[in-house]
């Protein structure tokens, strides 16, 4: 790759208003853009920048900001660079435009994000459920949904009574610390 990606990209995105650009390295470029400017940016990237491959759309929940972050990862087979375009949309009502017209694979990712986060994509070919056909709870990937609590509320721990435990209990010992009291990943809080 001899082209200076950053410079080239800077020139390209200069045509879209309000885009911020940061590069981690030559093959990972990050763009932050206003939601309404994203479709134009993607069209530009695809049409003029050879970014024909939509690798993925990722959704990140930021409940404290009241926002969802949508990240569009697009790859250019010619420039050999991955551009991740970030937008933030309000968590409520959680609606955005489909980019299916630009990238067909968007249909899969948008349907997935709709199912898991409840973000509705206008113009997406299908917003039907895909995996959670029997689920009528909240979109489970939202931060407020605590899946482990849900599991604990709906399932029982296996109640084992092996001989060795009966023996130890008869001698005055027995279960001292249950796993759910100590599970470390559960204790470690998020610092953000």
């Amino acid at each position: 790759m001899t082209t200076d990606i950053g410079q080239w990209l800077g020139h390209l995105i200069g045509q879209v208003e309000g885009v911020q650009h940061r590069g981690r390295h030559a093959r990972r470029q990050r763009l932050d853009v206003a939601p309404d400017a994203l479709p134009a940016l993607l069209e530009l990237l695809q049409g003029k920048g050879s970014f024909v491959h939509l690798s993925a759309i990722s959704c990140v929940d930021w409940p404290e900001d009241g926002q969802f972050e949508l990240v569009y990862h697009v790859w250019s087979y010619e420039l050999k660079t991955l551009v991740s375009a970030h937008i933030r949309i309000p968590r409520e009502p959680g609606r955005y435009l489909s980019v299916y017209d630009i990238y067909k694979p968007a249909a899969f990712f948008e349907r997935d994000i709709h199912e898991m986060y409840g973000v509705f994509f206008e113009g997406s070919p299908s917003m039907e459920k895909f995996i959670l056909t029997e689920w009528d709870g909240p979109p489970p990937m939202r931060k407020e949904f605590d899946s482990e609590n849900w599991v604990n509320d709906h399932f029982d721990w296996q109640d084992y009574h092996p001989d060795w435990l009966n023996d130890i209990e008869s001698r005055g010992g027995g279960i001292a610390i249950r796993p759910d009291e100590q599970r470390f990943s559960r204790k470690a809080k998020h610092e953000s």
Partner: protein, 380 residues
Amino acid sequence: MRAENYQSRAQPPSHEYELNFGPNHPGIEGNYALKVRLHGDTVIDAKADGGYLHRGFEKLMEQRLWIQNIALVPRICVPDPAPMELAYSMAVETLCGLEVPARAQWLRVLQMELSRVAAHLFTFGGHAATTGMYSTMFWGVADRDLILDLFEELTGGRVYHIYNLPGGVRRDVPDGFLDRVSATLDYLESRLADYDNLFFTNQVFITRARGIGPMSQQQALELGVTGPNLRATGLAFDVRRDDPYLVYDQIEFDIPTETAGDAWARTLVRRAELKESIRILRQVVARLPGIPGPIRAPIPNPLAWNVPAGEYYSRVESSKGELAWYVVSTGGAKPWRTHIRGPSAMHAVQVLETLVQGCRLEDVAQIMFSLDACPPEVDR
């Protein structure tokens, strides 16, 4: 999946009917299936239906310490679990600024390519079985077991290696291991002629596979196809070459392509890739003894490991195509968000739905296996 979910998608005219193709693991409730609408034995529409084979990995990962997720991610794809560990580790390493020692990188290549060989053997078998050639499947599974023996020795696990940690790998090769790798590679190479006779140059298979599920390069690019399926349309794209990681830039290998873009071409690409992987593995065997340790960068106590805030999109070339993890950290002890871009999720849904349009019912399974789609990865 419960009975009430097997409702037909529309009220079809009487000469059309709908068939639930799958779930393909009959013992597991709620697996991936394909709802196929047929007119006679011609497919006129198909919808992929995700299941619960493995559930909620991404959610689980947000609740686990960074290092604990290493034990989780290989389970996303049984046939080719190794790249899952690798891509996740690479993302964490980038966020932490960890320098992975050279020997660890070579050991990772060893693991990746062994996994690719095992996965391709599995796929040949599966593909052959969809055309009724079960001997190839038996062979494929049996020969894959030899790789699993090697994994057992190297990593302690036959399928779920849990061999990578962010920073490197957990163990070095045991004594004499590289000799046993060489012996297995010799054996597999010698077997290739057998496979050719039984399968690849079997006129019955050629006739069954040619022209089935064809895809143009243009179509493949539009649908986001990657990996061998994309290379079977003539585009020599491979993450190992074009978005390089580990030490693939120090290794000689070719990127095989075909142009027909059909089921036959896809399988031929995999056959050629098997040979390329063996070529890569021979280079690893030759060079690894000269690469000094350590095999892991120093990492913090797993119970007190905050990964600096940031995000990274790490990509690797799995046997099935482009595999990526988008990992977001807020500086905490657990990931804030992990998103997997699995190749099968693309191939088994939109691509499969498209390619089976107009094909005959008996070819649906073959098209699915020729795309090498992995249901757990769709359900993830």
